[in-house]
Amino acid sequence: MKVLVAVKRVVDYNVKIRVKPDHSDVDLTNVKMAMNPFCEIAVEEAVRLKEKGVATEIVAVTIGPKAAQEQLRTALALGADRAIHIQTDEKAESLAVAKLLAKVVEQEQPGLTILGKQAIDTDNNQTGQMLAALTGLPQGTFASEVVIENDKMHVTREIDGGLQTIELTLPAIVTTDLRLNEPRYAKLPDIMKAKKKPMDVTTPAELGVEMASKVTLLKVESPAERKGGIKVGSVDELIDKLKNEAKVL
């Protein structure tokens, strides 16, 4: 079975982002970029499926600027066999990304497509579900366990009340949650080998997908800052403050 994994280049999760002075967007100049953590979990899951003999080939895909090839190389170093870069400098909104990925699914016909449940920049949590809708495939979102047997897949999902297990027909779309696995780090020899693995470059225009979105970003602001409080010296003082100053007890 072929597995398609979508990865996104985002700001590193340790970076505390700043808003541009003109409020047009966040400022990403000279900020450390990395693979979205949920996409790392997606790549890891694909690699484990290959190690178990369930997956036969792993194709990694990204949509983004030239620099996003770094994240594809990381996916290749982690175990993907080949990569597809859909190159664009335009801001790719979830629906456009899902349309592009739907084209790739149509061309590649994967048995399973794995994406992260959300990207930690826009925090949208949409693309996997949209891809499932556009391809007419079932979806197993927020997965903490994926078990494939014959033509069926069991996905255990992290839901608000606990865990839910569903069975999906294949092909299907899965989005990863934090507990699905713990991603490995790429080893140096694999990073070297990854440089020689094949990478196709295409564009939204070549795939016939319009990137323009009906949603406009009007402005970006910093949230209201919390004022730092005080340190209390004892449990008694804490209880006193909560009762008499904050009045929350």
């Binding site: 700001v11 999760y13 505390k16 966040v26 979830s94 629906l95 899902a98 930690i120 920049d121 826009t122 949409q126 996997g128 579900q129 949209m130 891809l131 499932a132 809708a133 495939l137 079932p138 979806q139 979102t141 903490s144 069991h154 999902r157 992290e158 839901i159 608000d160 009340g161 606990g162 865990l163 839910q164 569903i166 069975e167 299907a172 934090l178 507990r179 009906k214 949603v215 406009t216 970003l217 009007l218 402005k219 970006v220 602001e221 910093s222 949230p223 919390r226 730092g228 409080g229 005080i230 209390v232 004892s234 008694d236 804490l238 209880i239 403050k241 909560l242 904050a246 929350v248 007890l249």
Partner: protein
């Protein structure tokens, strides 16, 4: 310009989050006009529909009561909402795991964008939403003819309920039934607790990696009992298996904004802060006086949680 809100329910009970989503719908309605309808989809949901009909400002409750919608799987729910969407200019759901699962699917079926987790309504087409773990707030405008939105509950005060005063909205059956051969419900393992729900609790006590193990979370039980609080956790505590995933507070877990949030043995990573920094009062208990959690805490107590917690429980 009517609005349809997807009602959230579990075990035959309307969930409290729905009243917050209706409030968001009303905030839009002030600009757009039109009616606010509710959709209750599921199996054996008559009681849910009745509770929903009593929410303030609801025009009518549409009920799709059929085995196909049991467990609200994404495929049939998406198809149902896409079918009903023609009557509406707005589709709204809470930013719960159900809303997040279903709504983007509907949006794509209708070839429109989704705006996730709105926290404020500026006008009929302009909304505010947090991005980058809440470290920035984006104002976005949608020109889509159908606006698909998920709503962050903490951004909107719940509408009231008429309870038993009568005067409730009309309840109408929806007879759309969709086939679904693609997904099947197998089982659910739901947390059992007598405590309030994390999302709606007035007080939340959360433990982090500093708790050391799952057994030690019992130290929070007595305090939570005395305060009528819900118990939450950091990702590190969930990943380590101390507590189940439904307790995770943060950017990628649950968003809470209680009157009082007590963080115990939690360092205060941005991903955790994203889920609790809108709390009214924050207390941090941590042995490291440099821990970033103290930068957002109204009251910080530096010390060993294993000494502080028993004393706190006793003195409350």
């Amino acid at each position: 310009m009517s609005l349809l809100v997807l009602a959230e329910h579990h075990d035959g009970q309307l969930s409290g989050a729905t009243a917050h989503v209706v409030a968001a719908a009303q905030a839009i309605q002030q600009h757009s006009g039109g009616d606010v309808d509710l959709l209750v989809a599921g199996e054996h949901v008559a009681a849910v529909a009745e509770a929903a009909a009593k929410l303030d400002g609801v025009n009518r409750v549409r009920v799709a009561d059929h085995a196909a919608y049991a467990h609200q799987l994404a495929e049939p729910m998406g198809a149902l909402l896409a079918e009903l969407a023609g009557d509406y200019s707005y589709l709204l759901a809470g930013a719960s795991t159900t809303g997040k699962n279903v709504m983007p699917r509907v949006a794509a079926l209708k070839d429109v964008s989704q705006i996730s987790e709105i926290i404020e309504v500026d006008s009929a087409d302009t909304f505010k939403r947090p991005i980058y773990a809440g470290n920035a707030i984006a104002t976005v405008q949608s020109a889509d003819p159908l606006k698909v939105l998920t709503v962050r509950s903490t951004g909107f005060d719940a509408v009231g309920s008429l309870q038993d005063q009568g005067g409730s909205a009309a309840i109408e059956a929806v007879d759309v039934v969709v086939d679904n051969a693609q997904s099947t419900f197998i089982k659910e393992a739901l947390a059992q607790s007598d405590r309030p729900e994390l999302a709606g609790a007035k007080i939340v006590v959360s433990g982090g990696r500093g708790m050391g193990n799952g057994e030690n979370f019992k130290l929070l039980d007595g305090i939570a009992d005395k305060l009528g609080a819900a118990i939450g956790a950091s990702r590190a505590a969930v990943d380590a298996g101390f507590v189940p995933n439904d307790m995770q507070v943060g950017q990628t877990g649950k968003i809470v904004a209680p009157e009082l949030y007590i963080a115990v043995g939690i360092s205060g990573a941005i991903q955790h802060l994203a889920g609790m920094k809108d709390s009214k009062v924050i207390v941090a208990i941590n042995k490291d006086e440099e821990a970033p959690i103290f930068q957002v805490a109204d009251y910080g107590l530096v010390g060993d949680l294993f000494e502080i917690l028993p004393e706190l429980e006793q003195k409350l």
